[in-house]
Amino acid sequence: MTKSQQETQPLPRVKEPAGVVVSRRGALIWLLPAGIIVIAFLIAPAIWTLVLGLTNYRLTGIEAKEPQFVGLENFENALTDPAFINSIWVTILFVLGSAVFGQAVLGFIIAWSIRNLAPRVRSSIELLVILAWIIPSSVVTFLWIALLNGQEGTLNTILGIDTEWLLRYPLLSIIVFNIWRGTAFSMLLSSAALASLPPSYLQTAKLAGASNWQQLRDVVLPSIKGYLITNLLLITLWTFNDFTPFLITGGGPGGKTETVPVFIYQEALRFLELGYGSAIAAIALAINFVIAMFYLRSSRRNAAR
């Protein structure tokens, strides 16, 4: 078996009928390690956390020694807590701005633009984009605080102004930050998707006189829609639960960059209100679930086509 042919078999993601490729017993054995880990360290704590949401448990104070079951009270409080509602709104803007319209679009544009460049140039650009993604979070925080600092920040030095970015445009700052940070994933995924596209498709389109833009719209995008949907799902969920903006803005000023994960952090780790924090996490889970189901349906519909 060779990997030599860099070829062009179209790869639609067709679900082939289930052949007996793996025996049932084999399957269970292979699932076992992951299964154990997932049950012990994912499912158990997740369910425990959800149950905590029904109590008034705190890490200190009398509620630590004697937590009480309060039913849906935490949820009621959450849904009437203006700070929480604010955090949902901020998160929606954050996700739409930085993930959906930011990373996904920019990632694709980059992948599309560099696909025909010389390999050296292409790898270098990819390296830069990926570097932004892999630099550790705490370091990236410093980089961006240095960049956006009002008095001596890099950005202001270049532009010759003295705007205190993190105070005047906090949400915009973290959106741009997150686009910078996460575009690599979308770029890689789009690159792979484009690579899987048989050149014959595009060749035909070009011969038929389609412009670049038309090729993109009518040939490329429909073919790789499945990949794009998967990408969008993952980065939406990841961005929704991303905590990194806290390191730059602390959720401020005045809660303007307090996303849901930051809100949970404040409640759980600062106020030590673990019951309330868990309830919030449960609500976040529900929202994520809705998002995921939405994508699942789109991807099913796309695959069926």
């Binding site: 890490l59 200190t60 020694k65 105070l167």
Partner: protein, 488 residues
């Protein structure tokens, strides 16, 4: 798995190494984390070996947990514990018939994170025998069962002679519901610092001592007129500065308006009251008249910037604690050293709103804080732990901790000795501490504090004092229950 061999080998090696290392780490007992030999200096390792040799086979292990680490935060404390306390107190306790092996578990992390880690450890049955905690945590720890009254855990504690040297007010900082839980590690006070050089330029007196809020504002206005490039006044506000807002700004103002955060007599929290409106009104004046810089209150590093600006002569009046004098602008070891600190920086007591309007009818007010050590109910031998604590708070030990850089300790005898050199600190000890107040040690205090910070931030952002006060009253009612708040 041919193909992945390279990666697998690397990973397998790493995992193997991890398992070996962790097996070594787990050789010692679980409940009290023994400090690993990995990260310590040779000095301490030698000491430990010496300790182990010197300690009798039945030595009781006593662990000290503090947010202090060599090479990082609170290094002075870490060095004191490792270099002085461990050898000296081991000997002292042995002389009294108690053989101990003292272990120091120091961390250098954010205070709030340290609190979470401690809480997790104690709630799961572990934790160090002696815990260094902030005074305002005593309440929530006590209620959660993470600590217990000294009288309960170590009956000998009641008859310790050191108590005579510690002011009752300072003792109260490590007490809860009238019972002592620990020994305080020192205290502090807040004053108004001012830049004498700027004052001179603006025609204000060099030995300034305001007697009312209005006088402070007037001085600010004079500065504003004479020196437009200087920020006249900086009184902490906003959420970004956290407890620094409450302690340096809000609470001294509240005391000056004659109210306490928590009224012991009526068992109610101070909500939307006239005093609160006064405080927020003062803040409001500062920002509507441009006497303060709102950005400093909103930025993440606003407090540091305020320090820097004062050190650079860009702020006229700054409300801060003695920590600022001895650790921030200190000419040799400060973060923003001012070489001419002693000549240029003046300090004045914080005035009440007007003479006689402060707490207890005082003309001047202040706030004090501090931490200390409490005992862990999970401790195997709280009696031995107490003995160690008593040794740590002896006159000699306290002198050893202070070393060359004077600070206000918990003991009056030590203060008398060391503060005479430093006029500012003796000023605090003699004139400020008598009029100071402490924060209430209730479990919900930290959240009430945040409500105060948020109220001040609303004013910074332009809300009226009355509106901010009203929402503050609501917030406190949510936290403490409507019956436990005074809202008028």
């Amino acid at each position: 798995m041919r193909i992945r061999r390279g990666r697998v080998a690397l990973g397998a090696g790493a995992l193997a190494a991890a398992m070996v290392l962790s097996a070594c780490g787990n050789g010692d007992d679980s409940a009290s984390d023994s400090d690993d030999s990995g990260g310590q200096t040779e000095e301490t390792q030698a000491e430990e070996t010496a300790d182990e040799e010197a300690a009798a086979p039945d030595a009781i292990q006593v662990e000290i947990g503090a947010n202090a680490v060599r090479g990082g935060k609170n290094e002075q404390t870490a060095a004191w514990i490792e270099d002085y306390i461990i050898p000296v107190c081991t000997e002292e306790l042995a002389a009294n018939g108690t053989n101990v092996e003292i272990v120091f578990n120091g961390r250098g992390i954010d205070d709030e994170d340290f609190k979470s880690q401690l809480a997790l450890d104690v709630s799961s049955g572990g934790g160090p025998d002696l815990m260094n905690i902030d005074g305002i945590w005593v309440g929530e720890f006590a209620e959660a069962g993470y600590t217990a009254p000294l009288a309960e855990l170590a009956p000998d504690a009641t008859s310790w002679d050191g108590w005579d040297q510690i002011d009752p007010a300072v003792q109260a900082n490590m007490s809860y519901k009238g019972e002592r839980y620990g020994v305080p590690s020192g205290t502090d006070g807040r004053v108004l610092y001012y830049n004498k050089a700027l004052f001179e330029e603006a025609g204000l007196p060099a030995d300034w001592q305001p007697t009312s809020w209005e006088e402070v504002l007037e001085a600010g206005r004079t500065l504003q007129q004479a020196l437009p490039d200087v920020t006249p006044i900086q009184i902490n506000a906003g959420v970004a500065m956290g407890e620094a807002t409450t302690m340096q700004g809000y609470l001294p103002l509240l005391a000056g308006a004659g109210a306490r955060v928590y009224d012991e007599d009526n068992s109610t929290w101070n909500g939307d009251t006239e005093a609160t409106r006064d405080v927020l009104g003062f803040y409001s004046t500062l920002f509507t008249e441009d006497l303060s810089n709102p950005d400093l209150q909103l930025l993440q590093d606003g407090r540091d910037r305020s320090f820097q600006e004062f050190a650079e002569g860009k702020i006229g009046i700054l409300g801060e604690g003695d920590y600022f004098w001895r650790a921030v602008i200190e000419p040799t070891v400060g973060n923003f050293p001012m070489a001419d600190r002693n000549d240029v920086v003046g300090y004045a007591k914080i005035p009440a709103k007007e003479a006689g309007a402060g707490l207890n009818g005082q003309d001047f007010v202040s706030m004090s804080g501090g931490g200390g050590y409490v005992l862990n109910p999970n401790s195997g031998n709280p009696g031995a732990a107490w003995e160690l604590l008593a040794c740590m708070n002896s006159k000699e030990s306290t002198l050893a901790l202070v070393g060359d850089v004077a600070r206000i300790t918990q003991r009056n005898d030590v203060n008398a000795e060391i503060l005479s050199e430093d006029p500012m600190l003796s000023f605090v000890a003699t004139e400020v501490l008598p009029v100071t107040a402490y924060r209430p040690g209730f479990a919900i205090y930290p959240q009430v504090s945040v409500a105060m910070q948020e109220a001040s931030e609303e004013v910074v952002n332009g809300s009226s004092a009355n509106d901010a006060s009203a929402s503050f009253g609501e917030a406190v009612a949510d936290l403490a229950g409507p019956d436990a708040v005074t809202n008028n």
